[in-house]
Each structure stands twice: as C-alpha cells, then as structure tokens.
C-alpha cells in the first residue's frame, strides 16, 4: 500500500463505511459520482463514520481536479494514486479501467485497516448513479447481514449480451446463485468478504487484472458467502470505444470465467440447480434508448467464421457440435436462422474444457468464439424481435435452465467421467434470522 494511503489510515484510524471509486481519465463523469456518494452517505448513513476513496491510476484529463472540485466539506474524501504498472499500460482491459484490480486491492486494504463494516465500489464513468444507489448497496450489508450485494439494472433486451448469453447463465449453473449482473461493476462488500479477497494471492494474475468483477462475484458465490442483489434502475455510463475489439473483450471475460471454473471445480461439481438471490429495492420501469443491431453483419461473421475457423474449432468442439454449427451456417434464409439453446450450451461447455487444457493457445481459441457468439446474438435478436422485456427475460431463463439441465455433460467432459454425486447450493456463511427488504 502506498505511503499516502498508510498515512491516511493512521490519521483516520477507523471508519464504518468505505466507498471506493477507481478512476482513469473520467473527468466528465467522476464529479457526479463523487457528489452522489457524498449525498447518499449524508442522507442514508448520517450516524456512520464514512470515507470516500478515489483511487486514480494516473489520469491525464484532470480527473483528480474534478474530484477535488466536487468535494463537499462535510464528507471525508481521500484521493490516492494507484501507480499503473507497465503491464497495465501495455494491456488495457476492454471492460473496466486499467489497473482496476490494483485500485480495488488498495481500497479493500484501507477498508480492512480501518475496520470498516462495509465497503462499496462503484465505477467512475456512471451517469445514472444516484444517492439511493449507496443505500441499496450498503444497507443489505450493514443491516441485513449480507456479504455481497450485486447490482441489478434495468437494461435493454439487446444490451449486455455477453452477460445474458454467457456470464450469467454459466455462473448461475456452476455456483447455484442467480445473480443477474455478475459483472456489473458496482458492488457492496462486507468486512468478512473483503478480508477474504485480501487473503488471496492471485491479485497480480490476469483474472484479477482483466476480470476483477467476475472474480469478486465468483469468490462470493463459490465460497458460500451470503449474497443478494439491489435494483439500481438503469445503468447509463460513458460509451465504450465503438471500435473496441470484441474478440479481445470476449476472450478476457470468458478466460476469467473459465480460469475460475478450474479453481472451483470441486465446488461446482457437486452443486445442482440454482436458487434466487434476494432482490432489494423497488423495481420500476425505466425508459431506455433503442438499441439497433446489424443482423446481416452478425450473420455474415458467423457464416464466414464457420468457413474460416472450423480448423480451429475442431480443437475445442466435439465432432457432432462442429457438424451442427457447419450445418447451421449453410442453412437457409436469415429469418429462419436459429442457434438453439442446447447447441449454444454445448459450445460454451466445450470451449471451457478446451481452455482448461490448451494453455498456450487459450487466447487464440477463446478469440475464435467471436463468430459463434455473434451467431448466437443474431439468433436471439431474431427470436425476440417482437417480444417485450418480460418475455425476453423468460427466454434468458430458458437458456439458464438449459445450462443447468446440461451440467452433467459439462462434468462428464471436464472431469472425464459421468456425474456421481450432487448437492444443492450450500447455505450462506453468515447466519441471519430473516431476510429484510430494504
């Protein structure tokens, strides 16, 4: 931990709530985030000793100055510097900021040294954040005895397709907890859980560097911490670079999920089914911007992928899966295109097993998922073109059930043997008499 952070801890000695805001070139939005945090803490937790920590990774757009100008006198604000290591500068994550893992580590270390009851981390590019978000993310930890509060956003049916088609169904089927936004980026964490995070020695690995969000969520659900969700409304944030490399983004996300699968293989092996995580907050509909997708381009990418990459897919996929994909790529009109749930589940499971075995070519193999993913998104868009939000959620639920139903297949190909022993998801670590709605 840097000397400035240590000195701040020595000066403060104790805090009940720590709000962490990692940043990197977020001058346009961070002022709003800091003000929302201050207002939220003042309004909902006036009796608590709270502190806001901005951990900046060397912004060059005046982010620290904006934070200073947004600072109100009645709240404790700490501005720290997270030095970006050369590796962070060379390999930027496609989701989140460079060095976000290091920033989180420092925030958790401070929270631990200050003996905080709860720690909240929020993204610094949020435009829709309100003071209520802090109540919703902190209250379940402070008053409800929960260890991990995941966000639950209202999103357009075509928004967050990696979450909907891979991360949510896979995390749910593996660890048995239905956390709808496992890579949301805004989380509430209890003392027990952030201390557990700090105990781990994989902070410098790719998982923590590129996939800190799924890393946090997976540890919470896999190790039996008490988890819940809070409805935060819509998530509006600075638009990502439209030219961002989708294949690199997919590779980083899937690689993180698959590496954690390897670590927790004995945990998910025996879990069956899933249970809903408690959802706090008043759910309401939010007007969302329309999302336009280019179906032709996605289908072309899928078909060209089937022509070009079948040699690579052969290394990951079983012959029957590959032949089903090839047949689909050759089939009829775009309107009839349908990549069904079972085939998609098989693809993901087989890629997960392949990523486990092929260390040297893992990145290449995972990048080759891109056309398959675009095919799946195209199929989803066609199927849900005329459906409302609830019906689309039903479609995603069906996909999750397909993941759960086919879990024995995953166990069979992952461990090389059929499933023999199963157990329901374990009870949460923290005991609580009754779940409380916030």
């Amino acid at each position: 931990m840097p000397a400035e952070a240590r000195a701040a801890v020595d000066h403060l000695r104790r805090a009940d709530i720590v709000v962490g805001i990692p940043s990197y070139n977020n001058s346009k939005t961070i002022g709003h985030v800091v003000q929302a945090a201050q207002a939220g803490l003042a309004k909902y937790f006036p009796g608590f000793n709270s502190i806001i920590v901005n951990s900046d990774g060397g912004s060059k757009d005046g982010t620290p100055e904006v934070v200073t100008s947004a600072h109100l006198q009645d709240a404790q604000l700490l501005m720290l510097h997270t030095p970006l290591k050369p590796v962070h500068r060379l390999s930027f994550p496609y989701h989140g900021i460079p060095g976000k893992g290091s920033a989180f580590r420092m925030i958790f270390q401070m929270a631990s040294m200050l003996d905080a009851k709860a720690c909240v981390v929020v993204d610094s590019d949020l435009r829709s954040i309100t003071p209520e978000w802090f109540d919703l993310l902190i209250r379940p930890v402070v008053d409800g005895g929960f260890d991990f509060v995941a966000p639950y956003y209202h999103r357009h049916k075509y928004d967050g397709t990696i979450t909907n088609s891979i991360v949510y169904p896979l995390t749910r089927c593996l660890y048995g907890q239905r956390l709808r936004q496992p890579i949301g980026g805004d989380f509430g964490v209890s003392r027990a859980l952030f201390n557990r995070y700090l105990e781990r020695d994989d902070w410098e690995t790719d998982v923590a560097r590129f996939g800190i969000d799924i890393w946090m969520t997976t540890i919470a659900v896999a190790e039996g911490f008490k988890v819940c969700q809070s409805f935060l409304g819509a998530k509006l944030h600075d638009a990502k670079d439209p030219g961002a490399d989708l294949s690199a983004m997919l590779q980083q996300v899937t690689s993180s999920v698959f590496l954690l699968m390897r670590e927790y293989q004995e945990t998910w092996r025996i879990r069956t089914g899933s249970e809903p995580a408690p959802l706090f907050g008043f759910r309401y509909d939010v007007g969302l911007d329309p999302v336009n997708v280019n179906l032709t381009r996605m289908l072309d990418a899928f078909r060209n992928g089937a022509a070009d990459l079948s040699g690579v897919w052969k290394l990951c996929l079983r012959p029957d899966t590959l032949s089903a994909i090839t047949a689909l790529a050759r089939s009829g009109r775009p309107d009839d295109f349908h990549l069904d749930d079972e085939l998609w589940v098989r693809i993901i499971y087989e890629f997960a097993c392949s990523a486990k075995s092929n260390r040297l070519e893992r990145a290449t193999l995972l990048k080759s998922i891109t056309p398959l993913y675009l095919g799946r998104v195209a199929s989803f868009v066609i199927e849900t073109a005329n459906l409302g939000a609830a019906e689309v959620e039903g479609r995603i639920e069906n996909l999750c059930l397909a993941f759960e139903r086919m879990k024995p297949y995953l166990i069979e190909i992952w461990f090389g043997q059929p499933v023999t022993q199963t157990a329901p998801p374990p009870p949460a670590r923290t005991e609580l008499a009754e779940r409380q709605e916030v």
Partner: protein, 234 residues
Amino acid sequence: MIKTLEQLLEGVVSGILAHLNSLLPPLIVAVFLFAVFLMAAVAVRWVLTKVVKGAGLDRFLKEAGLSNMLADRGDVHTTPLVAGAAFWLILLAGALVGLSLFNTQLTSRMVESVVFLLPRLVTAGLILLAGVWLAQLLSRSVLVWAHNECVPAPRRWAVVAKVIVVMVAVVAASEILDFAPHVFFAAFVILASGMVLAASLAIGLGGRDAVRQYLDARASERESQEEKSLWNHL
C-alpha cells in the same frame, strides 16, 4: 576352348568361395546379432508399453497444446511414442553393430558417418519439430485475428505465416545438417521476396479502392451512429 572356360569358371567360383569364406561368418553373426537386437527392441517396447504410464507427460503435452500439434484431436499418448522411439533406436544400434562386423572400409565409413550424423540429425529434427509447432500456433493465431478483424482471405494469411515459419526452420535444419544450406536459404529469400513483392503490388493496386472505401465508411459512420450500440456487450 572348354579348358579356358573351365579355368574361368574355376576362377569365378574360387573368387566367390573366397568372398563367402571371408564374408559369410560376419554375415551370419550380423544377422544373428540383428535378430538379437530385434528381439531386445520388441521386448523393450513391450516392457515400456506396460511399465511407462506417462500420464503426467500426456497431461503436460495436452496442457501445453503440443498434443494438438501431433494429432488433430489431441489424442496423443506418450507411452507408444517413447516405446516406439526406443524400439527404433535399438534396431538402429543392431544394424550398426552388424555392419561394423564386416570390418571393411565401406562399412566402417557408413557406421562412422551415421554415428557422427546422429546428434546433428536429432538436433535438426528437433528444430523442424519446433518450427512446425510454432508455425501451427502462429498460423492459427493469424487466422483468428484476420477473421475477427475482417481482413480479406484470412486463410491465405494463415498459410503465409505457416510457410514462413516452416521455411525458417528448414533453413536452420539444413544449416545444422550441412545439407545444401545455400539452396534452402536462397529458396527462402526468393519466397520471402516474392511475398513482399506480391504484398506491395496488392497494396499498391488495391490502395486506391481501400482508401475510397475507408473514406466512404467514415462518412457513413458520421451520418449514422447506429452501430455504436452493437458494441455494448457486457
């Protein structure tokens, strides 16, 4: 006339008998030794197949991605590979021992050259193997990258990458073996130059179209922002 023929025949037969007298004993011994080595090779192969499980090595090959290089489905087992290598090495040793029994200039030279060539042969083989493995790895990587970046003809780019790496390995191996190294090097230079020339022509001829397409794309992108939303996948 008949007498002359008889003399000639006697000469030939005595020559053959003399050769047989000198070569038959070592030949018999060589065949016997070769048979012994063959039996030893078969026995060693059998023992290795039964004793060496090689599960750890199999796992290493699989996890390192080497299995996929040796077999498309990655179903490579090290036990038969090790046993097969031991079998052929013992057999080669038997052949060399058999040849050395003849104690002629020719056989001695043959044995000597094989013994001296063997380490270089192994080194060259390893270089080729590493080259092919690297070529496979690189060509797959180029293929996936080119496809995802919508580069035209991704499979051709992958083949180009593979050919270049294999060619470098062949040149290096030929240097080690001292087997026409200049020919292979010249072939490599010609191939590389040809590729550069072809690429230059392609870029030169296609450059105008590419620039026009790029400018059109930029203009249409400015007009419509609809594609942006497609990228919000997380």
